[in-house]
Every structure is written in C-alpha cells, then in structure tokens.
Amino acid sequence: MTFTAPWFAWVAAGVAAATIALHLLAWRRPPPSPLPTVRFAPERPVRMVSRAIRPADLALLALRVLLVLLVGFALAGPVFARQPRGTARVIVMDRSRAASVGATVADSARAAFQPGDALVVFDSLAREISRPSPDSIVAAGTASAVGSLSAALVTATRAAERLRRDRDAVEIVVVSPFAQEELDAATAPIRGTWQGPLRLVRAGRLRGDTLAPARPTVRGGSGDPVVATLALVGAVPGGAAARVVRDSLTAADRAWASVGRLVVVWPVTTPAPGWPRRSAADTAFAVTAIGPAGQPAPDSARRAATVVAPFVRASLPPPGRVVARWSDGEPAVTESALGAGCVRSVAVAVPGIGDLALTPAFRHFARRLVEPCGGTEVMRPAGDSVLTALLPSRPSASTASATRPERARATTPRLAVWLLALALAAGLAEMLVRRGASNAAA
C-alpha cells in the first residue's frame, strides 16, 4: 500500500500521540487528604488536572486515536498498488489523409503491436480500439481528414495511465508520417502530461510525395470542349488516377473509383439523370473552384479558380462536399466519397460554341476539377528537430512537475472514502461515550 500524500499520515500519528499524552493529563479527582480547616479553602470544581501513569478513559482514548488515525490515513490517500507485470505499449496509428497512401503505416504499427498493448487510431479525431489485435490495425483503414497528433496523444495518455497500474513500464509508440499539418500548439503541453517514454516511428510517405504528374483520362466525343481544355491542361498531379466522363457514371467507373481513384462526372448536357433539377433554368455569370478544405486562407484564395462567363444553370449537382460554387453561392461542383476514392459531379454546362474552353481561366478551373480526391495539397513532413522539440522521448522536468497534481487528482482511491466513513462513525461513537461518561460523573 502506498500513500498519495504520506505527510497526512505522519501528522495524524503526531496528533494521536498528543491525544494519548493529553489523556495522561486528564481531569481527574485529586487524592483526598484530610484538612480540618478545609472550610476556608475557596470553592472550585472538584476535578483538577493531574498526571497519571495510566491513561484515563480508555474507551474514549481508543475512539479518539482511531478517529484521528482514520482521518489522517484517509487524507493521505492510500492506494493498493497491484503487482506490475512486464511492459506494455500504446500503439498510436495514423489513419489520416497524410498516411492514406500505401500500407507502410499499418505495416509498421502491426510490427510494433504485441498482445496486451493498447491501440489508438487517429485522424482529426482519436479513438482507442477495444480488444485490439493485428487485424484491428488493418480494419482501421484510412480517412481523408487531416490528422491531429494532439488528439491522439490525449487518448494515448489516458490509455497509458490505465495500463501503468498493471505494468512495470508503458511506452507510447506513435506510427505516422508526421506531417507538419498534424502538429499544433497543444502538442507539446499534451506530451508533458505523459511522464513515460514516447517513441516515434516515422512510416509511410506523405500524400504529396506520390502524386506524379500525368494526363487524366477523358471519355468524351471529338470536338468536346472539355476534352480540348484538358488537352491544353496537360499533366496534372495524380492525373493517372483521374478519369473524366462526359456521359453518365457506369458501374465500371464506380469500381475504378472505389480503389482510391477519381471519377469526374461532367455531363455534356444538364441535367444529368438522377441529379436534382432546378425549378427554372437561369444564367450564372461566374463559377469558382474554391480552395481545398484545411488550407490556410491565403493559400485557399490563391488556389481558387474563377471563370467569368454566362453559364446556363439547369440542374444542381448531387449532395456532397462542395468543390465549386456559382457566383450566388449555389454549389456548382460537388464531391462524394466512393470507397477509397471519390466521384466529382460537375453541373457546369460548357458551351460548345466559343473559345471559353480555351481561356486560361477555364483551363485553370478544369485543372482544379481533376485534382485527386481531397485536393492536391502537398503535406510537408515535420523535421526531426521539430519532432524532438515537440515530442521528446522523455518529458521535461518542469512540465512533469506542473502536471503531477493532475495525476494525483485523477486517482481518487475508494479506500479513502471508506476510511472517512469509519472516521465519522468513530466520531459519533466518541460523542456518545463522552456523553455517557459525563452523565455518569454527574
């Protein structure tokens, strides 16, 4: 048994000793002695303080000492520590957009995982997998959201504290490509809340590393303005995994897209089958492909592509993530996930007459529409020096001391509550015994 605040127990022991000493100086009747002239002595209470070799009122003394010791030990926070067994790890696996390329993150996580370890997977959110196994790592999959190492560390720290009650040592192992976008200002303080070791395993490649430039595939007729536009656009990052269809979406297109590719459905005539129709066709005079989500505002504005021209609006794109909007804010292009890939629906009718499709603005607009799912933002890897500063293998002393009371507060032993209850009972018993003794003396 250990104590969270052992000095409370020492203070209680001192108070108990003082209580015993006071009982040796208890009020008692002095020894009677004859004195013929007693009538001239002033009237005083018959009881006086005197020292005694044996303490008086043994029952009261026992109850008072018990009361003091119980309160002291309860405040000291006794904790019955279990016998620690071996070491354990908390595997923190990145399943965010940064790690969505390839399977090396999952492979590294599976290599580090051992039975009895805890598993935390994270993207923008983090969750602990109950009853983890190597299959749980595979089943975790990937997500398109930007990861948050801070959220992952909070969940991992909670799991590590739980494991530490039963283990000699607990280590948090973070398996991730460690993009800069996954770090924030809270990462370092959250790291300080965990007093144990932290190991970083850089695995996988960032998304931007794998998007090789290529021409996207276009299924359209000859003289199609979009085909011409994309021909002028040329190679785009990840273009090999993009397909533009100027007709309707087929089952083959769905299968092709579901393995992490992009299918852009850009029908020649709108409305396309299955798309919601507008109540009345009208004309919009501009369309803008907005910057990808998660990008800083200046980058998002710089990467926006706007085409100013009279467009006839006859239909709305299916619901999904808005990629482009009309000048009045209505969605013009939406994106919906399909397996590991996505389908991008373009409700922008391109006039076959005129040179709109050949303008740089429209080419820039088209280039944005064939970017891979979730955008083509390049995630930059965090440097080793940055990682060492934000996520050291051991927390700094100042951070550890600042967070120690939080840990002590987190462990509220149930035994203390029982001790306080017993102390309350002892106090009541002491009061009853004292009252009985007073009545007997009276």
């Binding site: 009747r29 002095p30 020894p31 009677p32 002695s33 004859p34 004195l35 013929p36 002239t37 007693v38 009538r39 001239f40 002595a41 002033p42 009237e43 005083r44 209470p45 018959v46 009881r47 006086m48 005197s50």
Partner: protein, 307 residues
C-alpha cells in the same frame, strides 16, 4: 520533691517529665477573687478567721460570737470582730477537644499531642496551687470526665485519661461543661472548628456568673502552611465537605483562615475571656506559661508568628 517525682512518673515518665520540670514553680493565679471556702492559694472574697489579721469590725447581730476579740472587748468594753484575708482554692476544669479535627496531621497527631501536653501542663500548674483539677475530654465517642480533685496523683490521672482517648468524630463542646461548678476556672483547649460560637456564648455565661474561662486555640503547622501539592481536602469531621486545594487556592485560604482567627480572638476577648493561640509545634511548657500569664493581657499571636 517526692510528690513531684510521683507526678512525673504518673504523667508519662520521661515524655512529659521535661514538660512538668519546665513548669515547676509556675503559678496560675485566679483572675479575680474567688468565693470558695476551702483554704487555698488564691485571694478569697470571704474574710474569715485566717491567722493573718486584716482589720477589726464592730460586732453585728448574726456574727459568729467565736470570732469576737475577747481581749479587745476586755480592754475597751466594745465588741469587735477580728477579720482576716482569706485565701481559697479555685476549682479548675480542663476541657479538651477530642474530635477528629484534632487528630491532625494523621501521621503524627501533633495537634492532639500538643493539646494533651497543654492540658497536662495546666493541670500540673493548677495542682501546684492545690486547686482541684478535673478533666472533660469531648469527642465523637462521648465525654470522658474526671471530676475535680486536689489529691495527689491527679495530674497522672489526667495524663492517663488523655492517653486513653482517641480523637475522632464530631461533638458539640458547648453543652459538655454545662454542669461545671459556678465560679470555677475552665480552660478550653480546642481548635474551635466545631461549635465555636455556641462554645463562646456558653463561656461568656460562665464568666458572667463569676467564673473564669481560658481559651487555648491549637493550630497545626500544616493548617497555617498547607502542602503545596494539589489535594482534595476533606473535613475529617464531615466527609461531605471536600474542596480541591491547589496552588491558586493558597492565598485565598490563608487570607480567610487568618481573618477567621482574628475574628475568633476578638470575639472571645470581647466576652471578657482569655484567648491564647498556640501552634502545635510550639513546646507545651511555653504555651502553658502564656496561658497562665494571659490573665491581664491577651496574647493573640503565637511565638511562631512573632518570629
């Protein structure tokens, strides 16, 4: 000399021998003329046929014809009565307090022993003047009485009677000497912690009737200087009276006790009685000398306090 030796032996041998030796030659004159007819050492109010001529007085009817000076009648043809100063004895009753308060301190009983020494000493002094000496020991076990006698060995009888008494219990002393002879001399040896007021009133009545009362107040050293340790003081005559005695009580106790002694002495003297305060540690002979010399002036303060 032989009589004196026998008295010493009767009074307890060596233990009281020094006391009696110290009191040899001490007289205890009566405070006023006595009315007794028996010849003694004290001036009598009666003028009778003592050998020592005082004056002549004309014969009056009713005078004893045997006291007529016939030679003067023959010379002057006038009948004169021959008068002379008479001396008489005074009956002395020694009243001693034998209640439990006198048995103090419990280990040494010095208070009681001093009272006994004073009584034996007074008896010896009175007996030396051939006064009849009697004893009244008033205690919880009753009254032990020796009627006044002037015979030899009466001092020893008083001493033996006192030795047979164990002070205990409580008793009222005022009524004990109700039957004492009128115009006698009464010496009360007590601590006056019992019925002091009633006793003083009774003594005043005796004095008003022509008697003579001496109060000898015995005070133990431990009463004047109580022990410093904390005790629960219990009245030996009444166990229900108990009070704690601690250091803080000492000053008030001494003040109260001193004031009471002053009041007691003043009250006795206001009645025209003799009052002598004696500390138990004071030699008995010295106390006796102060008692017998306290006829004219009163001695309120014991020798111990004078030092």
């Amino acid at each position: 000399m032989r009589e004196r030796r026998s008295e010493v032996e009767a009074a307890g041998g060596g233990s009281r021998g020094a006391l009696l030796d110290a009191l040899r030659g001490v007289k205890w004159p009566a405070l006023r003329t006595v009315g007794g007819a028996l010849p003694g050492a004290h001036h009598s109010r009666l003028r009778g046929a003592a050998p020592e001529l005082s004056e002549y007085r004309l014969y009056r009817q009713g005078d004893d014809p045997r006291r007529v000076d016939w030679r003067l009648l023959a010379r002057s043809d006038r009948a004169y009565i021959r008068l002379a100063e008479d001396r008489s004895v005074v009956v002395t009753t020694l009243v001693v307090d034998a209640t439990a308060s006198m048995a103090y301190p419990p280990r040494t009983l010095r208070k009681w022993r001093t009272a006994c020494d004073v009584v034996v000493g007074l008896a010896a002094v009175a007996h030396a003047s051939r006064d009849p000496v009697g004893l009244l020991a008033v205690g919880g076990n009753g009254v032990r009485q020796l009627p006044p006698r002037a015979r030899r060995g009466v001092v020893g009888e008083v001493a033996r009677a006192l030795d047979a008494v164990t002070p205990s219990g409580a008793a009222a002393m005022a009524g004990a000497f109700a039957g004492a002879a009128v115009r006698s001399r009464i010496a009360i040896v007590s601590d006056f912690l019992g019925d002091a007021d009633a006793l003083r009133r009774r003594a005043g009545e005796v004095a008003a009737a022509g008697g003579e009362v001496h109060a000898v107040h015995i005070v133990a050293d431990e009463e004047l200087d109580p022990p410093g340790r904390s005790i629960l003081a219990v009245d030996p005559e009444d166990a229900s009276v108990s009070r704690p005695f601690v250091t803080e009580s000492r000053a008030e106790y001494l003040s109260r006790f001193g004031a009471w002694r002053e009041q007691l002495a003043a009250a006795w003297r206001a009645e025209g009685l003799s009052y002598t305060l004696a500390v138990a540690s004071e030699p008995g002979a010295r106390i006796v000398r102060r008692v017998v010399g306290a006829g004219q002036g009163t001695d309120l303060h014991p020798r111990r306090e004078e030092r």
